[in-house]
């Protein structure tokens, strides 16, 4: 009974998925009702989760872990999923991809992410990962009439399957050399002189690196971001990355905590590579979704910089970074959903030119998000980077900090380029008036959070203060 009580949100989501699926199959024209009830289901899930906060419990033979970290990240993920559903309703309808499977797939992927977040065992982790990824392949290609969407789905499927294979191979190596799949037992049985284990770690890092799209495993990101329907891109940018990053935290701080030296250098290279590529490659992009893909590569580099310090402060700074990253991306994509002209969504950044004259409020929204993504104070994006750099400098990684800050300046260039197009260029035809209350609400809320974060920046420190790594 106690076991069931601890994973009520997961159970609730699984049952809801099945009910919604049956409902959707048997009732015609069920998209609207399934979509709306999905949102209700997710809101219930958040409430269940928040009401059942348990500080620490390990269930199912210690393979499933509920702690403050998992609670926090799960809440963040579910809220992100709710926001994704809220802002994409109109988009899905106007693209005619309003199939009832869409919200169900999102919830399934979310459920997979939640299992990943709580995994304390290689097998459970892998199961969660696959449950999270499979719906994403379908979601990426859900606009099946569209060549690019199909391409995105296929590309993601092939590369993701490859990386899953590598992960699984890494898991089997680790199991073979430590005799256990449980994270704590792995940590106990670890022998850092064993080359097989090191290989196992490398494979796992490669697999996870793919999921969070850090250099050099980032190749799929721009194509998938660009090809997928925007509503799916938002989801890609949020839930899978947050979940995979959490798994990264679990691996590096629990399972492999003993051999810090071995993986730190690898992660430094991944982090620096992502920062540099994220800053440089985005400069030439004209498609805003593609640009956001490179921007997210860069941001994952910064988030990784927190983890690789191997300290609790570093981990917390990564969690704070992910939270602010999620809000910024939500806001940014909410802005992108407004880019609609003659019933068609446009994606080129040139389409934004002179937006400040035709639609000043939306322009301010873009302005806040872009400067925050660039990390300019006093917006929230600055604080995200600030926490990371405090952690990095405390670990005396001076070079990493300087590279990180210099790439901030380079990446400021392409964010400024969009600001320039919006504010300095001559205006084009204005976007059509979008009367979408949830979308406006999400944009307003995220803008206010980003803008007013400086008033009381301790809020995330308070929220993450109870997180420990056991």
């Amino acid at each position: 009974m106690n076991i069931i009580a601890t994973i009520i949100p997961e159970i609730f989501l699984s049952i809801s998925i099945m009910i919604l699926l049956i409902f959707g199959v048997f009732i015609k024209e069920s998209f609207n009702i399934v979509y709306k009830s999905s949102i209700v289901v997710l809101i219930f899930a958040v409430l269940l989760l928040v009401n059942n906060f348990e500080n620490f419990s390990q269930i199912f033979n210690d393979s499933y872990l509920i702690d403050n970290l998992s609670n926090y990240i799960k809440t963040l993920s579910i809220i992100s999923a709710i926001v994704v559903l809220l802002i994409s309703y109109e988009y899905i309808n106007s693209l005619k991809i309003n199939k009832f499977e869409y919200p169900i797939l999102i919830i399934s992927s979310l459920l997979g992410a939640m299992i990943m977040i709580s995994a304390n065992d290689l097998i459970v982790f892998y199961m969660g990962l696959e449950l999270q990824s499979l719906p994403l392949y379908v979601l990426a290609s859900i606009d099946r009439e569209n060549e690019r969407s199909t391409e995105a789905g296929l590309k993601y499927f092939v590369l993701s399957a490859l990386s899953s294979g590598l992960l699984l191979y890494g898991c089997s190596l680790i199991y073979g050399f430590t005799g256990s799949t449980n994270f704590q037992l792995i940590a106990q049985n670890f022998n850092s002189n064993n080359l097989g284990l090191i290989f196992g770690i490398v494979f796992i890092i490669v697999g996870l690196g793919f999921k969070i799209s850090v250099v050099p495993f980032h190749m799929w990101t721009p194509d998938v971001y660009e090809g997928s329907p925007t509503s799916v891109t938002v989801f890609f940018a949020l839930v899978p990355k947050i979940a995979a990053m959490t798994v990264f935290i679990r691996f590096t701080n629990v399972a492999f905590a003993g051999i810090f030296d071995q993986w730190q250098l690898i992660l430094i290279f991944l982090s620096v590579g992502s920062m540099i590529l994220g800053a440089v490659a985005a400069i030439g992009q004209d498609n805003i979704k593609r640009l956001m893909a490179y921007s997210s590569i860069g941001h994952m580099g910064y988030a990784l910089a927190g983890i690789l310090t191997g300290t609790i402060e570093g981990t917390k700074s990564t969690i704070i970074y992910l939270t602010i990253y999620a809000v910024m991306n939500t806001g940014m994509f909410a802005c992108i959903f407004f880019m609609k002209r003659k019933e068609k969504y446009v994606e080129n950044i040139k389409d934004l030119s002179g937006l400040s004259k035709t639609n000043p409020l939306l322009a301010v929204g873009f302005l806040i998000m872009l400067f925050s993504l660039a990390g300019i104070p006093p917006l929230a994006g600055f604080f995200a980077k600030f926490y990371i750099f405090v952690a990095v400098l405390e670990s005396k990684l001076y070079l990493l900090a300087v590279i990180g800050l210099v790439t901030t300046v380079v990446s400021a260039f392409y964010y400024l380029r969009i600001v320039k197009i919006i504010y300095f260029d001559e205006s084009k035809i204005s976007f059509q008036n979008v009367k979408n209350l949830p979308l406006k609400f999400v944009l307003l809320t995220s803008s206010l959070i980003i803008l007013l974060y400086f008033v009381y920046p301790s809020i995330l420190i308070d929220m993450t203060s109870s997180i420990s790594l056991g």
């Binding site: 300019i376 006093p378 600055f382 750099f389 210099v406 901030t408 300046v409 920046p457």
Partner: protein
């Protein structure tokens, strides 16, 4: 003093900006209303800062009106406070901002609402810089100013505005991020970023050198010192008049303020070690940029280069670490803030009428604009540093301070005054005197009522502090003594 007056002065313009943002209505109505709100907010803020000045205790060398709130748990407290040095910069900011607003209302022809919002936002950020007593808070305001300035240059600027705005933004950001590394390092070394506490906790000497250089990179770009000055002429030339005024009058002073408040007080050993570097760069700045200024055919560019030269005096003055030198630097900053603001406004007056900044487009302006020529003359003389203007007081004291350190520096930097006389008088002669060569100058109108008043205000202040600078000395004398005492006890 329980009322948080510093926070109020800092955030009051922001409140005004929010009000303007919220104003709706018919086009003529909301323009009128937003102008009124902006004028009200900025003028009231000036009055408040005067009130602050009268309540300021000259006989007390520490920080006053200190406010402290818990802010970033475990890292930083939100801390505001002023001493005799910061208060004069607050006065300068609140004095210049209404002038910018009047100038904007007078000459900005489109998107006036956004313009006023940005200027008020800028005022909040600038006052915040001078009030903060915590490095992170300081950084927040210091960097935050980039956003509105970028937009000011980019939206209302001249032809090459995009290039200039980007150059300004990226240059300053690059310098500042290095300062951020230094700030975090200080936090890790000492466990605090509170300036008052840091003055007592000594920073280990071997760390001071790197930290000093990191802060230097930021302040030297902002100041700007040769050879980091290249963004300035571009930014000045392309910025709208009000933007140039804010840049020259206040943003440049943040660099000098930063040197005084942070570099010297926190890293005294490094400051002594690197003083020679500063002298060298400053002397080069004074002579080289003055020569460059001589050759300019664009009025704004000429004044921009002259700013670099004048800032050279400031850095020499600060790093002489003598009472005369530092006080001279402070007066020089203040007077340059007022005089260069006036000069940019004068160029703006001509530009609004004839849409050219080239010297060769004008001649014999005195025939049609006698009032204008008078104001322009006093400001020109102030820029040269003629006795009786505030420019003289600053430069004279700096040279006295420099003479105590090294005769060579004093002699070399004095040539700057001669060169200044050369380029300024030549500029004045070519624009104002002579016969009218360009026939479309014939219908040029003299100052309108707005221009008349704000130029009068600037000229009055220049002359007042030229003849009677004592109130300023009384305000910052003890704080400067304290600064030098701490430096000598390093």
């Amino acid at each position: 003093m329980n009322f948080p007056i510093l926070s109020f002065i800092t955030f009051f313009p922001l409140l005004g900006a929010v009000c303007i943002f919220a104003i709706q209505g018919k086009k003529t109505d909301y323009i009128k209303n937003s102008q009124n709100v902006a004028i009200f907010a900025s003028v009231l803020n000036f009055v408040l800062s005067l009130y602050l000045w009268f309540n300021f205790d000259n006989t007390h060398s520490g920080f006053q009106f200190v406010e402290e709130y818990e802010w970033l748990k475990g890292f930083v407290n939100f801390k505001f406070g002023i001493d005799g040095i910061s208060i004069i910069f607050i006065l300068l900011t609140t004095f210049i901002t209404p002038i910018c607003i009047f100038s904007g209302i007078n000459s900005v022809s489109f998107r006036i609402k956004e313009f006023l919002i940005l200027i008020l936002l800028m005022e909040t950020l600038m006052i915040g810089v001078f009030c903060s007593l915590d490095l992170v808070i300081f950084y927040l305001f210091f960097e935050g100013g980039l956003i509105p300035m970028f937009l000011l240059i980019g939206i209302w600027g001249g032809e090459k505005r995009v290039y200039s705005a980007f150059k300004f933004f990226l240059f300053t950001l690059l310098g500042s991020v290095l300062m951020l590394v230094a700030i975090i390092t200080i936090f890790i070394l000492t466990g605090s970023t509170d300036v008052e506490q840091l003055l007592n906790l000594k920073i280990p000497e071997n760390y001071q050198y790197f930290l000093w250089l990191a802060f230097f990179s930021s302040f030297a770009i902002k100041m700007p010192m040769w050879p980091f000055h290249t963004w300035l002429p571009d930014a000045h030339v392309e910025a709208p008049t009000a933007g140039s005024v804010i840049l020259a009058a206040i943003l440049l002073k943040m660099g000098g303020y930063g040197f005084i408040r942070f570099s010297i007080s926190l890293f005294p050993n490094a400051s002594e070690y690197f003083a020679v570097l500063i002298y060298a760069l400053s002397v080069i700045a004074i002579i080289y940029t003055s020569l460059v200024a001589l050759m300019q055919d664009d009025m704004k560019k000429l004044i921009a280069y002259s700013s670099v030269a004048h800032m050279g005096f400031v850095t020499i003055g600060i790093f002489t670490m003598t009472k005369q030198g530092v006080e001279g630097a402070l007066i020089q900053m203040l007077s340059h803030g007022i005089i260069s603001a006036g000069l940019f406004l004068c160029v703006g007056v001509l530009y609004d009428r004839k849409h050219s900044r080239l010297i060769s487009s004008y001649s014999g302006v005195v025939n049609f604009m006698p009032k204008y020529s008078l104001f322009f003359m006093i400001l020109t003389l102030g820029a040269i540093g003629l006795p009786g203007t505030s420019g003289f007081v600053g430069e004279f004291l700096v040279l006295v301070g420099a003479f105590k350190i090294s005769k060579l520096i004093a002699i070399l930097s004095s040539t700057g005054i001669i060169l200044a006389a050369g380029y300024m008088l030549w500029l004045y002669k070519r624009v104002v005197f002579g016969s009218i060569l360009n026939s479309n100058l014939k219908n040029i109108k003299d100052l309108n009522i707005f221009e008349n008043y704000y130029l009068l205000a600037l000229v009055a202040v220049t002359l007042f502090f030229g003849f009677y600078p004592d109130p300023l000395f009384q305000t910052f004398s003890l704080s400067v003594d304290n600064l030098i005492l701490q430096y000598e006890m390093r």
